[in-house]
């Protein structure tokens, strides 16, 4: 919720470009004043270093050691170079896990949450106010639930004797055991249900900023609804789309609780995404070093996605 508000109030980049030269051109600022202005930031920087950079550096370092939770390496871990990464490349579970992570992220976030969020937001701008607020509160309801509660709700819905199969039974159909037969489908739908509200809120805020006179002008020129969407609305909210994509991608890459509660990565490894694999290796099999190597790979994947999105968000040269 908070994040959504922040994004919503960020001015579109075109405005920012116009303001910046004015601000810096006001009067020259002495170096001392610049340094003094940094002082209030110091506590924040310290906290960020300890709690954000610290664990990342530790994890990166740990991935080059044979640190373990038990056994002789628990008390005396040693530097083993790239052995963990070499082992990872030979691990038959790793390619599967990588594919499942990408599938989970693309299917549940990049495509479903994004498209559905935009779709519902567009519908809500046209629907009558009461209906819109009703739909809004239903969708946002899933977002308000703590992740562990949402995960149990989804478990209860998809499990063998769960709500879904009871509904199917009422209309005379026998549903499969979703969590066993279609584990990825179940967790993708669960994440879609839980995460759509975020995209919805972001897009709602962005659509409110689309100047009505431009759409009206397009309408007068005879552009159809679809054309107005493709040629007017989407170009205007383009930066919001990439920001939203980046946020939901990073959120979804690291989803753990939802999958762990619903399937625990099973059956077999059929829903073991990288966070689950890292957890299993680090804590179930006590290989902290190997687990952190997987976490580092996850970090790199997130970084690649971020770079792609940041590049896409740059204003096009015209």
């Amino acid at each position: 919720m908070v994040t959504a508000d922040v994004i919503a109030t960020t001015p579109p980049s075109s405005d920012r470009r116009r303001q910046e030269p004015q601000g810096s051109g006001r009067r020259p600022v002495s170096r001392l004043a610049k340094a003094l202005r940094m002082i209030p930031l110091i506590p924040a920087i310290i906290i960020m270093t300890i709690f954000l950079a610290g664990p990342i550096i530790w994890s990166f370092y740990g991935s080059f050691t044979n640190a373990a939770l038990t056994g002789p390496n628990a008390s005396h871990s040693s530097w083993i170079g790239l052995d963990n990464y070499a082992k990872l490349l030979q691990d038959p579970v790793f390619p599967l896990s990588l594919w499942l992570t990408v599938l989970f992220t693309l299917a549940s976030a990049v495509i479903s949450q994004n498209v559905l969020g935009l779709g519902i937001a567009l519908t809500m701008t046209r629907a009558n106010k009461r209906l819109a607020s009703l739909i809004g509160s239903i969708v946002v309801g899933a977002w308000i639930l703590p992740e562990i509660v949402a995960a149990f709700v989804c478990y209860a819905y998809f499990s063998k004797n769960g709500t879904l199969n009871q509904i199917l039974a009422a209309v005379g159909m026998t549903g499969p055991n979703w969590l066993y037969s279609f584990p990825m489908l179940a967790v993708i739908l669960a994440n879609l249900w839980r995460g759509t509200a975020f995209s919805l809120l972001v897009y709602q805020a962005a659509l409110n900023d689309v100047p009505p006179e431009i759409t009206e002008a397009a309408m007068i020129d005879g552009a159809s609804g679809a054309k107005r969407l493709v040629y007017v609305t989407i170009p205007i909210i383009r930066t919001t789309i990439t920001t939203n994509l980046m946020l939901i991608t990073l959120q979804t890459l690291s989803v753990f609780t939802l999958i762990y509660v619903m399937t625990a990565g099973g059956p077999g490894n059929d829903s073991t995404t990288l966070p689950i694999l890292a957890y299993k290796e680090a804590f179930r099999f006590s290989n902290i070093g190997y687990g952190t190597a997987i976490a580092t790979v996850l970090l790199l994947i997130g970084a690649v996605f971020s770079i792609v999105y940041i590049r896409a968000a740059r204003p096009a040269k015209d």
Partner: protein, 454 residues
């Protein structure tokens, strides 16, 4: 506006910093001593909590100024072990006395988490009451003692007499070979539709339980016997054995012929609750392989109280493959108590532990939790044998029981065994393919010079 926001943020940040430093300062250490005790407590396992609560009162009375801080953990065995290992990494969080699985004793001793107890045990008179097997359960790789056994367990076939009789099978039932088990299951299937003939856990869902109460009863009953999984003489893991393929084939037959639960049910981590709470009491299951602690679920105060179990249920040894000696197979595990190597009050912690392990306390615990006694004086007590009608049957299985090779890679290899059985019962691989995949995985985990082809 901007400046004000910046000031507000820094005030909050500085406040947070002050708060953090305040938190990290250690609580005042006066002359009082504290013993931290960590163990599992769940709705299905309260016996240890009862024991420690009782011992805490007695210990605090006997040692004025000492506080015993009980830290029960409500978690599955696996999660408990993870939490315990994490807490042991720092002296600040490490418990003084804790509940420790026998399979972890060796690797945790290697890790330096466990206190070497030999010099303490030398001065404890009761130590001579422990059986040799129990003493070995607490040994580290160096032959020193690091933990003291609380009780052990064995595995047996638990069968429903009414179900077997309805299918024309005479009770008491004692299958001699694997084929006898299959024959009985087929008879039950033919005679009683709607009844699950014979359950053997398999797959990753039930975790370690699917090996202990399933695959290992098969594997350790094949030609290689106690060396079927791990060759103890050479210290190497066994790959490529016919017994492994045969054991998987048995499970395949059981599941393919629908003599067991459906694979989807078998992979549900909570299936054991259905077995104890629903299938047996309702007469919907012929038999299953389960631990000697089975009666603890049904007796008064258990999770699935069922008075009829004393007359309806029977317990017998799981047979060897072809009936070869020793004629039965059982697996044993069990838990111990240990003292933390980082404990500041190790003598007090040891004293607390021995008080919990005294004759009277061990007797009460073993009876409440249906454990097999490891103290000779407890085993000889009339109330131990009388605790439930199956004590003698399951205690006799100690003669044919096996222990897991508790090396530091055991947990990973155990999962590979579970994956193999899962692949077979779900039809994803043939027994030969699953065994071959297991061999590759084990060679990867244990390294090539630690495996031997048999």
């Amino acid at each position: 506006m901007k400046n004000r926001a910046a000031i507000a943020i820094s005030v909050v940040a500085i406040g947070a910093l002050i708060g953090l430093t305040a938190c990290s300062s250690s609580p005042g250490t006066s002359g009082d001593k504290t013993i931290k005790v960590t163990y599992i407590k769940t709705d299905a396992f309260t016996a240890l909590d009862t024991l420690f609560t009782k011992v805490k009162t007695a210990f605090e009375t006997a040692h004025p100024g000492v506080t015993v801080q009980l830290q029960p953990v409500s978690a599955t065995d696996d999660d408990y072990k993870t939490k315990l290992a994490l807490s042991q990494r720092s002296a600040e969080t490490a418990p003084d006395v804790f509940y420790e699985d026998t399979t972890n004793v060796r690797s945790d001793a290697d890790a330096g988490y466990l206190l070497k107890l030999d010099s303490y045990l030398a001065k404890w008179n009761d130590w001579s009451q422990f059986t040799d097997a129990a003493k070995q359960a607490g040994q580290g790789d160096d032959g020193k003692i690091y933990a003291v056994s609380l009780g052990t367990d064995t595995r047996a076939i638990w069968y429903s007499k009414p179900v077997l009789q309805a299918a024309g099978i005479a009770v008491p039932w004692q299958p001699k070979t694997w084929q006898d088990v299959l024959n009985a299951a087929q008879k039950i299937k033919a005679a009683e539709p709607g009844v699950v003939p014979f359950n053997m856990y398999a797959g990753t869902g039930t975790g370690e339980g699917s090996n202990m109460q399933g695959f290992y009863e098969l594997l350790y009953g094949t030609a290689l016997g106690s060396d079927a999984l791990y060759d103890s003489a050479s210290g190497k893991w066994v790959v490529g054995s016919q017994g492994f393929v045969d054991s998987l084939t048995f499970l395949k037959t059981l599941y393919d012929q629908q003599l067991a639960l459906t694979p989807a049910e078998a992979l549900d981590p909570n299936i054991w609750k259905k077995v104890f709470g629903e299938l047996f009491p309702k007469g919907k299951l012929g038999g299953t392989v389960e631990g000697s602690y089975t009666p603890s679920f049904w007796q008064k105060g258990g999770s699935f109280e069922w008075a009829g179990y004393t007359t309806d249920m029977g317990a017998t040894a799981f047979p060897t493959q072809t009936g070869q000696a020793p004629g039965g197979v059982s697996m044993s595990g069990g838990w111990t108590l240990a003292v933390g190597a980082k404990s500041a009050n190790s003598q007090l912690a040891f004293d607390f532990m021995t008080m919990a392990l005294s004759r009277d306390n061990a007797l009460a615990y073993d009876n409440a939790n249906s454990q097999i006694a490891v103290r000779k004086d407890v085993a000889a007590d009339p109330s131990y044998v009388a605790a439930n009608p199956f004590v003698k049957a399951v205690t006799d299985l100690v003669a044919v029981t096996h222990f897991r090779p508790a090396t530091s890679v055991y947990n990973q290899i155990s999962v590979e065994v579970q994956k193999a059985s899962e692949a077979v019962i779900t039809g994803k691989m043939s027994p030969h393919e699953a065994a071959a995949a297991y061999d590759v995985a084990v060679t990867g985990i244990a390294t090539a010079d630690k495996v031997v082809k048999k």
